[in-house]
Subunit: 339 residues, 6 copies
């Protein structure tokens, strides 16, 4: 059976309750999240076995972080324990005209400072047919870049597919720095996933087929994807497009170029509960359905529906059932109650 | 003064806080609800005395359930105590593209297993001029059907009006089963109330005058109502129409055929806080205003406004004032603050 | 550096959690608010020093009220302590078709009963260049009117600018009573601020250039403002316009007439979290930017953006950063997350 | 069947959550309470019908107050609606060495300002065999004293028993004022109930048979009770004794003198959750068991057990079952779980 | 490495927040618990691998129940999914003189109705060296007894040790019924664990060496244990003794007879946060330390310390670290903070 | 008027609600605390003006931290803003046999990394007559030691009194390291405050006059204090003694040696709500009463009462009134309610 491995940094996420501003009340929602861990929760929820690799501090918070993934059924047996701290991000949800506010306190986390040699990729990847990571990881510093490199090389060697979500984080590094580093990692990548705006910025190339308020221009989107594929040797490219009408209202759609043809998903208009984690839900939906051998058009439709639906879910982890996603992908967005 | 009697099952309702998914947090909102009990809360809030009849377990939860109605001023003196359990329903509210999720755990409740002979309808209906029930009750099993039959017969005998809300619950029985059973009860009914879709499904008859996104087709709606009235001998028929644009956005309107003419209410566009209980609010608004002797057009307008407004209220019970409903029915939907 | 003084009543505000109705749950949100205190929080948040003057009871609640302002950096050293009670207002937030519900319990508060001679305006206004108050204060009774008069006279004497927000509260006094009293205070006012509807009602004059659902009629708005300025000798007039589409959806815009020309802000469509305090945010934004010497057009744009954004904030106090407001005033209403 | 009538002021009670200090968090627990209303909840919970009489404002909070009693089954049909406000008391629970903090904001409540003529005691007392009130009511002002006098006279006239709990509130009036007023009301009283310290203070008479840390001196307690009975013509006297070891640990016991003999209850050592309402639970337990015709010794044992147990209950209302009280009165204080 | 298997019923546990009574607030704490599942959480937390076997409904609540164990690292791969409902127990925590209140709603749960043939004990027990269950399971009905029998037989066959906690539940069956059924299962048991009172009741034999308020009488305790061992062929017997001074204060101690000698633990005086789950913590502590090959005296000391400490933990699951237990077992009960 | 300056690190404190373990629920209590900041809140609450000096990050959390002190009336105008992060400490409260759990995540905080030259002690100490700091600050690293040295030198120069609380934190440095560093700072100190155990450990000298469960041995305590004073040239020495009977029950007392005589306070037995901050309350009580010129015996009695009472308060900050402390210091520990 298919087994996927993801790795990256798992963080403690602290948010004011509801739509409160920081410290308006004396209580915070506390959960865990990290792009690749979120993808891992999605994969296991959808039925694809997944191991998640990171390093967490040996104390009770590190344990709680690992437990949060274990609750989903993610295999946490390769998580290293040690170092001094878990990265933290404080996030104040936005609403309407007010933007979300994100404060990173993730420097010098156990993962970011971990030694690449601590990870035994032979054991970790044993039996894996897929490896997934995102652009956040190499942004965490030199050690992290070396961890990526080691994992990719090993995965390539055993013939596992490699997917990568660009996930550019401007608070971690500049587009230029990102570009320079990624150029060394991208040749390993089979499936490249990116927000179309970020791809254009990092690659300094793109014609922007997704235009807010209009139907996507299929031809231009497809051309971009194809060009990216050719430039880096990707077997497939998925581009996502988000129009942020306000912090509460987003449109979301996506395109998948499978090396031969390009397929557009529906565009979903969604009232946002918490948009963090929606891109990761896309990744999970796409990787899962590709591994299931579905047709490209179905894959992108399923992945986009997963992403759209995840906007209604508080927290970063994937809290959706496959049947909910399939229903939405199939066109039922009525939100009716069944009783 | 007018006194109405309603009967049915009162359940414990357990929901995650806010728009969380089940067990995302370790806390649940706990309240009580049941279609006919909800109607009872509405009637007393609007000024019509009402007794509610059910059977509840003798323990503290059964007591709390009865107390919750007593707080509203519903007469609970005919509630039987005994049996083993209170029915439970777990409900996860939906939002935007995500549908609500309803899990019933109501089998073998004290009410569903209660013996029809336990209910002393002579005493219960003494002084009553109106009896109301819904299609949920006969769906609970043979005992429940016999309870309905006994109550209807007695009510008919003393000349009380009988209203019935179809409230089809597909998780309890099929449309076919419902049709077969209801055919024995409907001849007692004076005022028949139903969602127009459900009526069409159960009666296998209807032309669908309510079309999402368009103004209702008055003639077709009225013709449906009239036909139903003729077929079962209803003195009046009220049809409600809901368009679920998403879990968060619904349109709601209604029609009342009073035996002579048909009257359409406005159609309300409402942002949903909790849609459960809105149909019951319609029933309460309609029964109350009919008993007050208002004109048919006013009655349906008031009832539809009550239903629309109840969408903004968390919980199943009717938490509205008559003046709020009248203001909305009168056209003020600005939601402005008075200070 | 600029120092502003505001004075008025500070109240305890009690609200059900979320969008619950009164006593649906056994918990209430407790905070403090009052128009002029809200303005004070806004001014200090934006960088203008501000002293707030009121009288609060000597007990722990009075202390907590003062502390709540002190947390923002408002100078509370002139707050008198004594008397028997803090005014209270109970407010149930509205949503969609349901209006907010406001119950005042503010009679005989320490401030309303305070003796005008208790306030040492010489000391309070020492070094102040601006005095701000609102129409709520004179509505609190004869003592309060005399407090206003003493403050205005002193402020005039030392050459401080005087701003006034009409803030008519129909639950406190009628438009007619308001008109009669205000006519004695308005001649002191340099900057007059009002909701355009309320101005028209109190002044019995106005052509209503703001029409719901249309672009504001610049010429008519400007003419109204100019006429008010001439009639009372205001140096400047700001009119705000709110269209309440529902309790959850409001449009908000404003106009500033600076004695020479009139300037219209954008009109913002905002999904409302809590609209109380948005008018006060407008005042703070306007007074602050005027004191910074910005151009009139910029001032009204900044103030309107502050007001619009404050709709997304729970509670009366000003919980916004200048940079957030500037971004919105500059046209970015996408609500995107920066990370 | 026995029916008791109680009357007095029902207040809104606002407390910080848990053992927090005022405004340490932004949330408050909101409930209702008042000595006689608390007694009413106890009586109906134990099986004695009870009507509660007061006046509440016509707004939503007044309704919620009445509903809170209705939930218990208290007859609220004689509650008047009108006037301007509900009395409020803010209470911060104490713990260990820290005392509770009580702030009254109850002046000019609808009840305190109500006209004695508004109460139709003929109708209210129709069918009643018992009237209960407490010393808090006459402390509320001249109107309230006259309300008491009218009720007592009527009750006496129809032969109902009259019980009175001294409940001295030093924040409302001095011991001297209390003594002067009560002397006019006490001759109507059949059953006099008081904390033994307060009785001694108000009556300026008493030898203090209850000594902290020792077994009560039966002879001296009984002598005090007998003397009080003779002085005012009470048929019976109950004295309660509380030793406050800390805010968290109290000892509680009581004595009943029934005109012939005196009976001491056990002394209970209780860890306090919320001590407010425990004296009222004593009253309810005593009045109920006297009406049931139990022996004097049993009555005081049951009443003391009710009071002791109520210390473990948050809130003022009586949330105990008769069986729990009987078990404790019978000597089982193990707190073991039955499953 | 050691692997233990436990099986039984996992229930949804619903409790009022804090020490509130049922429905005093509208919120409930929701968690999961069941004696054998609790033991499983303890074993994995302490480092012994454990599989838990049960049957849960296929819906979201059943999934959440399984996830709650997965979070701890319990192997849930043998949990069956199907049937209609998860058993529920409502529990109101007691405090001081007030007893906890437990309402079972567990009839006809997926587990209780499951077919013994659904469990593939060959696969489940493959590699297991220990099987643990409790007296709650056979109390659930005939199917459950047959499930026990099948599991025991298989375990015996492969040479796994079998431990059993008597856990008598009087609400499920009488002592007599229990005795009759257990006599067929006990011969399989190697390690018998019981509260000494319950053992005496079920076995109708025992001299009661544990006397509240005194040091345990070693000789009598040991004699009881030895007699039980001889009667049923147990290799070892552990007896626990609890003195419930009040719902808030318990003393807890234990004895282990290892076939040769008997060992007494310290007696712990503990202030109770939530006593449910403390007996299960004893089981986990004992089974784990026995498997680690520790000396009998150390084993019972560790197990008793685990049980004592678990009284301070909200919820049924084992939320303790081995190092905390060891520190307490070693005599440090100061509760000092390390910083 | 007296003005005190304190400096040190202000941290974000995150705790599970109630007595929950980390991540048992998804909510955390969020507040701020730090020994010297806590002392500052105490001083201003008691009436001594106080400036607090630290460095906080420029983002919203840094602002909230400063605001939390501003709410108390602490002068925050000398707080520097910059650097990258606020130190965090996660704390799980203990109860009964379970110890609190403290996880520091405070490395590389804005304060710890701040440059000693950033602090303008001339301006900060202008007008100050007292400087207070604790042993936590020099434990934060070389920069922090240099900040201490600069502040002490300047304070000495202007004749301000200097107080120091030893506050040894074993997680930050060893007793040996502490001793070596402190030896350079102690000669500046006038008033030395320490837990008697810690003093003995760091100074490797002490006879331990405080013995758990016995009355303190006055002569030995006084001799220790006198010897410390002579060794380092302290004008006065205060020693505190805590006996941790369990996490929930502590005894607390203190001794003050004023250079001539030694004075013992009462010993308080306190049921602990949250013990963090109680030592700081002692400091505030002592510094305040010394500045008020009270007699030494009164000073230590007041300070010990403040410390004892602070154990009942959630959070680190000082939330007590002087009158509460005086009442307790005067012997009233009954915790009775005044109403």
């Amino acid at each position: 059976m298919a087994k996927t491995v993801t790795f990256g940094e798992l963080m403690l996420k602290l948010s004011p309750e509801g739509y409160g501003r920081f410290f308006q009340s004396d209580r915070m929602q506390a959960s865990f999240g990290g792009s690749e861990a979120n993808v891992a929760t999605g994969l296991v929820r959808l039925g694809t076995e997944c191991s998640y690799v990171t390093k967490l501090p040996p104390h009770a918070l590190g344990q709680a972080a690992a437990d949060s993934l274990r609750a989903f059924g993610v295999d946490t047996s390769f998580i290293l324990r040690g170092g001094g701290r878990i990265g933290i991000y404080f996030i104040e949800k936005g609403t309407s005209l007010r933007s979300p506010l994100c404060i990173y306190d993730r420097k010098d986390s156990s993962f970011a400072l971990s030694d690449p040699d601590e990870y035994d990729w032979d054991r970790i990847l044993d039996g894996a047919n897929w490896l997934h990571f995102s652009g956040i990881t190499p942004a965490l510093g030199k050690n992290a870049v070396r961890i990526c490199a080691a994992a990719l090389e090993k995965a390539k060697g055993i013939g596992a597919k490699i997917s990568f979500d660009l996930n550019h984080r401007a608070k971690l590094w500049s587009a230029e720095e990102a570009g320079k580093t990624l150029v060394r990692l991208l040749p390993y990548v089979d499936l490249f996933i990116a927000n179309e705006n970020q791809a254009r910025e990092i690659f300094e190339d793109g014609t922007g087929g997704f235009v807010p308020g209009k139907a996507p221009d299929m031809d231009r989107c497809a051309a971009d994807a194809e060009r990216y594929a050719r430039r880096f040797g990707f077997a497939a490219v998925a581009l996502t497009a988000r129009t942020s009408l306000s912090a509460s209202d987003n449109d979301f759609g996506a395109l998948l170029y499978d090396g031969n043809d390009a397929y557009l998903s529906r565009t979903y208009s969604v009232h946002v509960t918490d948009r963090v984690g929606s891109g990761d839900a896309f990744d999970a939906g796409l990787i899962h359905s590709l591994q299931c051998g579905k047709a490209s058009g179905e894959c992108v439709e399923f992945a986009a529906a997963a992403a759209a639906l995840e906007h209604t879910v508080e927290g970063d982890y994937f809290r959706l059932d496959g049947s909910e996603i399939s229903a939405l992908a199939g066109g039922d967005s009525s939100g009716a109650v069944k009783r």
